[in-house]
């Protein structure tokens, strides 16, 4: 009897986190964005795999990948993936500092959060700007 009560016998109690009852804050929004960008980057990793696999398979297969990546949908996805990468990278560094016990005060958390948002957009803009500029020049 005791063995069986551990799983199904327990009443269905509310489970944390109750995201819907909190007013969104910068810290909570950035936290959920870290997960969301991570999941989106999973699809980017699948694309990366397809890109390399098609290149290894030969010119004919690579042409399909090239066609997809240079379509408007491909560019839109690349833009999204690049911002997600820079955001996840910057916020990941923020997490690594937290793991070392650094920057955990309320003030520091908000300051680093704002810095991560600014840095992610600047790095995305910089890499696309440089890429487009060099492509137009060359």
């Amino acid at each position: 009897m005791a063995e069986q009560s551990s799983g199904s016998g327990a009443r269905a109690r509310p489970i944390s986190p109750h995201l819907s009852v909190y007013r969104p804050q910068l810290t909570s929004v950035l936290s959920i964005l870290h997960r969301m960008t991570g999941v989106i980057l999973a699809s980017g990793a699948a694309m990366l795999c397809a890109w390399l696999l098609s290149a290894a398979a030969g010119e004919r297969y690579y042409a399909w990948t090239e066609w997809f990546l240079t379509s408007w949908l491909g560019y839109a996805l690349l833009a999204a993936w690049s911002w997600c990468l820079f955001y996840h990278l910057c916020n990941g560094i923020r997490h690594l500092f937290w793991d070392m016990g650094q920057g955990l005060s309320l003030r520091a958390t908000y300051a680093s959060g704002a810095a991560v948002v600014v840095a992610s957009f600047m790095l995305t803009g910089l890499s696309w700007g440089l890429g487009l500029a060099c492509n137009l020049a060359g």
Partner: protein, 127 residues
């Protein structure tokens, strides 16, 4: 018949000594991925400037440094990805579906990671 509550049972099971593996693996790959992903973005940029075609990609990967760093980047990426998606599934998916997704996640990350690593080796060696 056991007189202990399920909670008391769990409390006295003690450590399995591997509890920190997931956390540690995620941090190690994260530290590795900070320089490697910046290097990867820079490399992509040089491929785009180099014409963005297959020849530019093959040229880039035929160097030993680029090939080894790319293998390292892919290995760390797909392992980090597996650990991260695992936590997301564990947190938000419940019931039988959770186990199916956990298995699918582990296998898919393994297969895609292996395919990507193999492709890099093929390109680096054969072109």
């Amino acid at each position: 018949m056991a007189l202990q509550t399920p909670l008391a049972k769990v409390r006295h099971l003690g450590s399995a000594k591997e509890g920190v593996n997931h956390w540690w693996g995620q941090r190690l790959t994260a530290i590795l991925l900070v320089p490697l992903s910046l290097w990867f973005v820079g490399s992509l940029w040089s491929i785009v400037v180099g014409g963005a075609d297959r020849d530019a990609l093959v040229d880039w990967l035929s160097g030993p440094v680029a090939a080894v760093l790319m293998l390292l980047f892919l290995g760390a990426t797909f392992y980090h990805l597996k650990l991260g998606l695992q936590v997301v599934i564990e947190d938000y998916v419940h019931g039988r579906c959770k186990w199916a997704l956990l298995i699918l996640n582990a296998l898919l990350c393994l297969v895609l990671g292996l395919a990507a690593l193999y492709s890099v080796i093929v390109i680096a060696i054969g072109g």
